[in-house]
């Protein structure tokens, strides 16, 4: 196990270096000038001062090594050129935390609701409940999230007066965005759970358990649930890694101070170190989540672990 983890760690570091390098050069080659995004009517002499100030006159390679030096020695993920004084570390401390809170709550709801609905579908396969849930699932997956935002806002916030329509700061402000975030995910987990439960139902050990006279409850929870949930469990770490990036649509609709808007803004402004810093951070969370997925797989399915150690 130790060797396996070490190997994954080395791979992760190599992937990160490659991602950082490729992103940096791609960003530098992207058209669009961060100084123009900041100011358009600058006298040429002042522009030159700015170019020097941000090191934009340096060769790409020098800029890259400078950036990496800052990243490794000071942990500085990058400063904004367009917004004086802002940097990625600050964004992560404030905005990514907000996005993560919403995302984690939504994932919790997604997993619980998705798993329950998926199991109901599988256990009552072909019955009315299966059909109804299937239609809802297709709708939830197909309808874009801004439609849910608008619907939730109208029916719950405006007509129902149950929650505020938008805003941030009180616990009640979480309800609508979390719901909007959760709905498509519930459908996805539900679909996976249904398929995997149906698979489990066809296994010989279920037949054996039934033949042994195992009670219905015991059968469902002890034999079906535990085996069927495995593929869903391995999806969760990747979903968690995505929550830090936030969702621009949901943030815009509900006026939430999350991460999505900063990421989109940095790209449209061509703000190089902001894009790079966020890209590296998101890559990190993704790689870490994949690492957990691998370990989880090993834990839940001995066959995979055996195959890995046979390499």
């Amino acid at each position: 196990m130790g060797k396996f983890i070490l190997k994954r760690f080395v791979y992760a570091v190599i992937s990160l270096v490659i991602i950082a390098t490729v992103s940096f050069f791609l960003i530098c080659m992207k058209p669009g000038d961060p100084i123009a995004a900041k100011v358009s009517q600058l006298p040429e002499s002042s522009r030159k001062v700015l170019v020097v100030k941000y090191g934009l006159d340096q060769p790409m390679f020098t800029r890259f090594t400078e950036y990496m030096k800052g990243l490794i020695t000071e942990g500085n993920l990058g400063d904004s050129i367009v917004y004086e004084g802002r940097n990625v570390n600050m964004m992560l401390k404030t905005s990514a935390v907000v996005s993560a809170k919403i995302g984690l709550m939504a994932i919790a709801i997604q997993v619980i609701a998705g798993v329950l609905l998926g199991m109901i579908q599988a256990l009552y396969r072909g019955k009315l409940s299966d059909q109804v849930i299937r239609v809802l699932v297709v709708l939830a997956i197909c309808i874009p999230s801004f439609v849910f935002c608008a619907l939730l806002q109208y029916f719950i916030g405006f007509k129902g007066q149950i929650t505020p329509i938008m805003g941030w700061g009180k616990p009640v402000h979480y309800i609508l965005p979390v719901a909007a975030y959760a709905i498509p995910g519930i459908a996805t987990y539900c679909k996976y759970m249904r398929t995997s439960t149906i698979g489990v139902l066809g296994e010989d050990y279920i037949l054996t358990a039934t033949a042994k006279g195992c009670s219905q409850t015991r059968l469902v929870f002890k034999h079906i649930f535990r085996n069927a949930i495995l593929p869903v469990v391995t999806m969760v770490p990747v979903a968690i890694s995505n929550v830090f990036a936030g969702s621009m649509v949901i943030e815009k609709f509900f006026s939430i101070p999350g991460m999505g808007q900063h990421y989109v803004k940095a790209v449209s402004d061509s703000d190089p170190y902001m894009i790079l810093g966020m890209a590296i951070f998101f890559a990190c969370t993704y790689i870490i989540s994949l690492f957990f997925v691998d370990i989880l797989y090993g834990l839940v399915d001995p066959r995979i672990r055996v195959a890995k150690s046979a390499d």
């Binding site: 900041k38 100011v39 358009s40 009517q41 600058l42 006298p43 002499s45 002042s46 001062v49 700015l50 100030k53 367009v82 917004y83 004086e84 004084g85 802002r86 600050m90 404030t94 905005s95 907000v98 984690l104 709550m105 919790a108 709801i109 997993v111 619980i112 806002q153 109208y154 916030g157 405006f158 007066q161 149950i162 929650t163 505020p164 329509i165 938008m166 805003g167 941030w168 700061g169 009180k170 616990p171 009640v172 979480y174 309800i175 979390v178 535990r226 949930i229 469990v233 969760v236 943030e251 815009k252 609709f253 006026s255 939430i256 101070p257 999350g258 808007q261 900063h262 834990l299 839940v300």
Partner: protein, 567 residues
């Protein structure tokens, strides 16, 4: 063993999830009680975007400037007088003197002027604030507006002279002297702009380049101080208890709430969650107005949209043809049917809030105010005018033989609707063919630049001054934005126009300016290389229980004098 670990993991995850959802449910119950009792002196004001920075000299967007306005104060402030005109009132300076040739201004600071941390506002702070604005290393995006007025400002900004030579100095602790390059009536107005407002030297130096980026790094001498900033969502302000005019600061809490979506905003307004907002969306206007909770104020902006005709093309070379096109559609009908009355039909390039000296253009402009209407009386039959023009240009007498290509500015639904309306109208009124080329806006600008178009759409916004010159200079044929090789307007009248347009940029005498405007505008309207279509307007909704909130497109509200009354 492993299975047990996994079960434990799952159980933990599930319990956590249940606990979290549990929280959500409980909060829902608490939230239903609603907010917003009257008399609490809390006002929620809507912005469409969040500020990027609150460093005075770095502010550039409308959101930056509006958010900075309550925190920082300039030497002078702007307000509306009883007749709705913008006037200058004392700000950080209690009064000022000016020398005889109007080049040296001496400002006397408020004796009680203090920053929100209680330190006094000194002349050194003012000098420091202005030097920052012209510091090439800091590169303010806005200070060019003062750079031709203040002595050595341009040289300092371009790094040719040290900042110590900037034309501003501290005479004593509460007196500042500013030297101008030449007399300029606009100078005092520019002092109210955010980049020229005052920051604390000590505070800014202690923050370095972090100044303006977060709550802890922001401090000014204005009526309010920032106490909370959730980037992308809201800003909360509380009164600056050290403000010199604190008697007139009535609000206990001011929130700038970012709401970008029109549907979100409309519903929030209908739920009375917001006190002051700007909403101009025809899907929602009526529903919100029907509530009767908001007073709606519509003010024109300094923003004009117009058609541009390429005079170099044989079909459009003759002015009669162009004028026939300009008169060939009903602007009122266009505004009502295409935009549901969202804009103001334009019969002149000068928006109704344009001013000449201290007078409104609409009061002193006479026949020129709706210049195109006067011209329309002269040419009651556009179709006859068109045929006349076609004959002169050797294009025959049959309007149906004339095809004009219309390059749209963008490809959105409203642009399509507008182009189709125009096609139908011009074809039925004039009998010509209009072929629509749907073009992305950035491509359309490139085509206009390259003079590769026949009829196109353009617009111009001004966000700092109301002089008609700001629009009329656009069509001047040597340097105007819509002049020269883009439009190819030539001939005697074009030259005469350019002469007037150049002169109006060099003088400040209101009488002569008015004369020039009246001489110049009819020329461009009648020759019609461009023809005005509509002006935009700002539509502000103010809750009935708010008092003292003034609406003007250039007015940055500092919320002094604004209060909530019990209904």
């Amino acid at each position: 063993m492993k299975k047990k670990l996994l079960s434990l993991l799952l159980v933990t995850a599930m319990t956590g999830a249940v606990a979290l959802t549990g929280c959500g449910g409980k909060d829902a119950g608490e939230g239903g009680s609603g907010e917003g009792g009257a008399g609490d002196q809390e006002v929620i004001f809507q912005l469409t975007a969040d500020a990027a920075t609150l460093d005075t000299i770095q502010t550039s967007t409308m959101a930056d400037q509006r958010s900075a306005a309550p925190i920082y104060e300039g030497l002078l402030r702007r307000q509306l007088d009883d007749e709705g005109n913008l006037i200058l009132v004392p700000g950080a300076a209690e009064s000022y003197d000016v020398n005889d040739d109007e080049t040296v201004y001496t400002f006397h600071l408020q004796p009680e002027g203090k920053f929100s941390d209680g330190t006094p506002v000194t002349a050194d702070d003012v000098v420091y604030s202005w030097r920052r604005a012209f510091d090439p290393d800091l590169a303010s995006p806005q200070s060019w507006q003062l750079q031709d007025m203040v002595l050595n400002a341009k040289e300092c900004f371009e790094g040719e002279k040290p900042l110590e030579e900037l034309g501003i100095k501290a005479v004593d602790e509460k007196t500042v002297e500013v030297t101008l390059t030449s007399p300029n009536p606009n100078f005092l107005t520019v002092l109210t702009f955010p980049f020229a407002r005052i920051v604390s030297k000590e505070f800014v130096e202690s923050k370095g380049n972090k100044f303006g980026s977060s709550v802890d790094d922001i401090m000014g001498s204005g009526p309010f101080k920032l106490v909370q900033w959730d980037t992308g969502s809201s800003m909360v302000f509380e009164p600056n208890e050290n403000y010199w005019d604190k008697e007139n600061v009535h609000l206990k809490k001011l929130t700038l709430q970012v709401v970008a979506e029109a549907s979100t905003l409309a519903q929030a307004l209908m739920g009375k969650e917001i006190d002051i907002a700007e909403l101009n969306d025809t899907d929602w206007n009526d529903q919100v107005d029907a509530l009767g909770y908001y007073e709606v104020t519509e003010v024109p902006q300094m923003s004009t949209y117009f058609f541009v005709f390429n005079c170099d093309k044989p079909q459009l070379n003759n002015w009669k043809i162009r004028l026939a096109l300009a008169l060939g559609f009903d602007r009122e009908k266009y505004n009502d049917e295409v935009f549901d009355g969202k804009y103001i039909p334009a019969y002149s390039f000068l928006p109704p809030i344009s001013t000449v000296g201290d007078e409104l253009w609409t009061d002193v402009g006479g026949d020129s105010v709706d210049g195109l209407k006067t011209i329309a009386e002269k040419y009651p039959d556009p179709k006859a005018l068109l045929i006349e023009g076609m004959k002169e240009a050797g294009l025959g007498e049959d309007p149906s033989a004339l095809t004009i290509k219309y390059t749209t500015l963008g490809t959105t639904e409203i642009v399509k609707k507008s182009a189709e309306w125009m096609k139908q109208e011009l074809e039925s009124n004039l009998g010509i063919n209009l072929s629509i080329e749907l073009t992305e806006w950035n491509v359309a600008y490139d085509l206009i630049d390259a003079s590769d178009y026949e009829m196109a759409f353009g617009g111009w916004n001004v966000d700092s001054g109301t002089e008609p010159m700001r629009f009329l200079k656009l069509f001047e044929q040597t340097e105007g934005y819509y002049g020269g090789e883009k439009v190819h307007w030539t001939g005697e009248k074009s030259e005469e126009y350019s002469k007037y347009a150049i002169e109006m940029q060099q003088i400040f005498d209101p009488d002569r300016l008015l004369e020039l405007y009246k001489l110049a505008e009819p020329l461009v309207l009648e020759e019609a290389p461009v023809t005005p279509v509509y002006f935009t307007k700002q539509r502000t909704l103010i809750a009935n229980n708010i008092e003292g909130y003034q609406v003007h497109p250039f007015l940055l509200q500092d919320f002094v004098g604004v209060k909530k009354t019990a209904e």
